[in-house]
Symmetry: C3
Subunit: 339 residues, 3 copies
């Protein structure tokens, strides 16, 4: 059960209702049976709903005391006796839908905290929640039902769409932010990019005259940094998910639904098509084009364009099959000559 200090649970729901909410099919169990909470397989009890999405946890599934579980069709026969079984095409997605019913997102706090410093020319739409010590600059526009966490600084004339939520201690400048965006604590958006002319008599800063455009439904993880463009804008496409400690350089363009995992970085002016996935600690040099749906493995270093749909790995990155061959051949040679 989630710690009630931090989370408040809704419900209960019948299995029939949960099947409906989650888009899963109840194949074992009574439609009227009541479920009170969600829990991981090992922690779940008879009143909880759980899920199996990763074969690594198959044993936990077969030994689970969960009252009900969402699984793929291939595992339904492995369910222990007494467990209600809901079969879903994408069990994790179905679980997400059910869990969101038990734990809908709720903003903490109400109204504008008296310690916030909101410039008189800023425009705050209805139902905004502004935390303690927040600073909102001149001419900024904060959309309906936005929440701004304590200590966050919104620069002059920044525009933020409806229902966007920003964590504590973040800063946003030179940016246009869409609706339903989630920026985590410590995010840095809109500072000048790393643009200068190198020279032995001193590096010369180049004015950075673009903005950061964050489209709707984007998430940006804690302490990640997105520099504004140098002239063109830096653009994060709708629905993209960016994890913690990610670096996005100036003029980068992400398509829709991209996924950038923790500590990855994208250098200036590189463009990602829709639904590109960049795994943890990977890096893309500047001025590349990464085609739609391409996948970049963790710690890869990409120095050339990647075609749509390709999977690349390694530093320097090569197609995945080639990477496996390279790894295998080096391993074999090392064994042969090893002592």
């Amino acid at each position: 059960m989630a710690d009630p200090r931090f989370f408040s649970v809704r419900g209960p729901f019948t299995l029939a209702r949960l099947a409906d909410i989650s888009g899963a099919e109840l194949v074992v169990g009574d439609v009227e049976r009541t479920v009170f909470d969600v829990a991981a397989l090992e922690a779940a009890g008879p009143e909880d709903l759980s899920f199996l999405d990763n074969k690594l946890y198959l044993e936990a599934f077969t030994g689970s005391a969960a009252g009900a579980c969402i699984v793929g069709a291939e595992h339904r026969e492995r369910a222990p006796a007494g467990m209600a079984v809901l079969v879903a095409e994408d069990p994790y997605r179905s679980y997400a839908l059910a869990a969101r019913a038990f734990y809908p997102e709720e903003a903490e706090g109400r109204g504008i905290h008296e310690s916030a410093v909101v410039d008189g020319s800023a425009r705050l739409d209805e139902d905004v929640v502004i935390g303690a010590g927040v600073v909102i600059g001149a001419g900024a526009e904060i959309g309906r039902a936005c929440g701004i966490g304590a200590g966050t600084v919104i620069g002059p004339r920044v525009v933020i769409g409806e229902e966007t939520s920003i964590g504590a201690g973040a800063s946003v400048s030179h940016a246009i932010i869409g609706a339903r965006v989630l920026l985590h604590p410590g995010v840095r958006i809109g500072q000048r990019g790393f643009g200068f002319a190198m020279g032995r008599k001193g590096h010369l800063k180049v004015p950075q005259l673009g903005r950061v455009i964050i489209e709707d439904d984007v998430e940006v993880g804690a302490n990640s940094t997105i520099d504004r463009g140098s002239g063109p804008d830096t653009v994060i496409g709708a629905g993209s998910m960016i994890d913690n400690l990610v670096q996005i350089g100036h003029n980068v363009r992400l398509g829709r639904g991209c996924v950038i995992v923790a500590q990855a970085g994208v250098a200036g002016s590189t463009q990602l098509g829709d639904y590109v996935a960049l795994a943890a600690q990977a890096g893309l040099v500047g001025h590349l084009k990464i085609g739609a749906g391409a996948q970049i493995a963790a710690q890869s270093g990409v120095m050339r364009d990647v075609p749509a749909g390709a999977i690349v790995c390694g530093s320097p990155a090569v197609p995945l099959k080639q990477f496996f061959r390279q790894t295998a051949v080096v391993s074999r040679l090392a064994k042969k000559r090893g002592t």
Copy 2:
């Protein structure tokens, strides 16, 4: 000498007292000789205590003007004339003990700054020091003698143990923090993890219903990020040391005394045994088990479980010996075929 603007020195101490404090044996020098400060080998003068711990600095040792020095037994004969010599099994540890006597940790400031925003339902124990602009949410509990740096945000119902110190501009939510913990400036604890069901019609966020548990005596470096669990908790074991810009994903469990060096990352649900060391910029994929005492070299990318006590290196990571062989064989082949 440490800059008196930033540090105030205690003492002086006799060599006898320093031998006692540091657990080192005075093998050369007068027990009554007085030492006034600590300093690095190259900066130390006749009234300073220094130490030699790394062979790279042997030359600095033999040429040092330090009045006294803590060294391993193997180097004692190399001490210059006139230097008092203290022999220790672990010279760096003994130096640490001595240096802590000269420079004990002291909190700056006193009491609760008038600009702090402390919710009326929060409980602050005695001797807490709360900096300017700090925000403490409803129902939070701050233990005896804690220090909270300026501008830091403590979320509702967070619990913090005794003598814990948090730097400036940090944020903590959904967390239970132990005693004598040190969180550096900009640390982000407890935000929702990177949990969503991917899909071409849009990624769907999964509620993150766990907490962050930080046990006693943990240190977390500047701007590091620790996400809360998705259902299970994220747990940082007692005495673990985490450097700057480290990413810890949801549900990760660190054992006791783990060491995670700067810019390393641990993906979701991976478990580290006691005293695992993860060097800088290394990465662990999710759902792994890393055995107690394992060591992961810098920049390694670990994709499989690592047994207790193993040392692995490379991306993908292999046992250290195998890594050296691989490196050697590739180097040899490259020379052969090179032009």
Copy 3:
């Protein structure tokens, strides 16, 4: 055109004046022609000045509607009809000079915000701009015309030189900062370094008694971290440029004009000569000496000293030529044995 919400443009300027400002030679076009703005090649219109610096954008150049363009001599013949052409030895540098004329740096805001908490013993020189919620500790000294962004925390007795600018939500302690330094939002300067004696009975913290010295004209990117020295100082040489999410360990010394790209890290006590370039996500282990002008490629892992002027690549890093040979030989072998 830059978004007037965020940038205000000066000018217009004649081509003669722009040639003068930028140090470029007007080889095609009327000296009296007037230019109103700068823009990227693809966005520029007949009243805009653009530049070509990267062959990747040659096509954009030949198709550009820009009224004037700064190019290298080798491309001048490719300019489309009607475009005024300015030839420069370093087109990016010349563009920077021109762009700075159109968009000089300007501090937002004036004076000391009433919500700032400035200790009575701090000394603020004339024309400082202190944002909302800023905290300035006892005895700190802030030089003439400095700007401190909202929510930033300056520790006791920190010294900051003239015309230095610090972004929002940063923290600085135990540091002496030069003139014309730019610290981006979320930067963490001066916290204790990762210094402890490891031990199975618990790791023992070693007092960190040095400072951070940042010389003149340094830039430090968003959310980067620079730890104070352990006894010696951590020093960032004049004119060095540090990108976002970079880690600089205790006692590190950077020479003049070093460039450290995003997510790179330098471990404790390593020394970089003048004008060393460390590309993105590269790492240097501790206690190294990197010679002046050396270049470390992206994602490299450097475990040995690097001589002045060398270019190294790979993890572990080797000279660039050797890296290319290694990559080539592995690629060839993998193809031979591949299926």
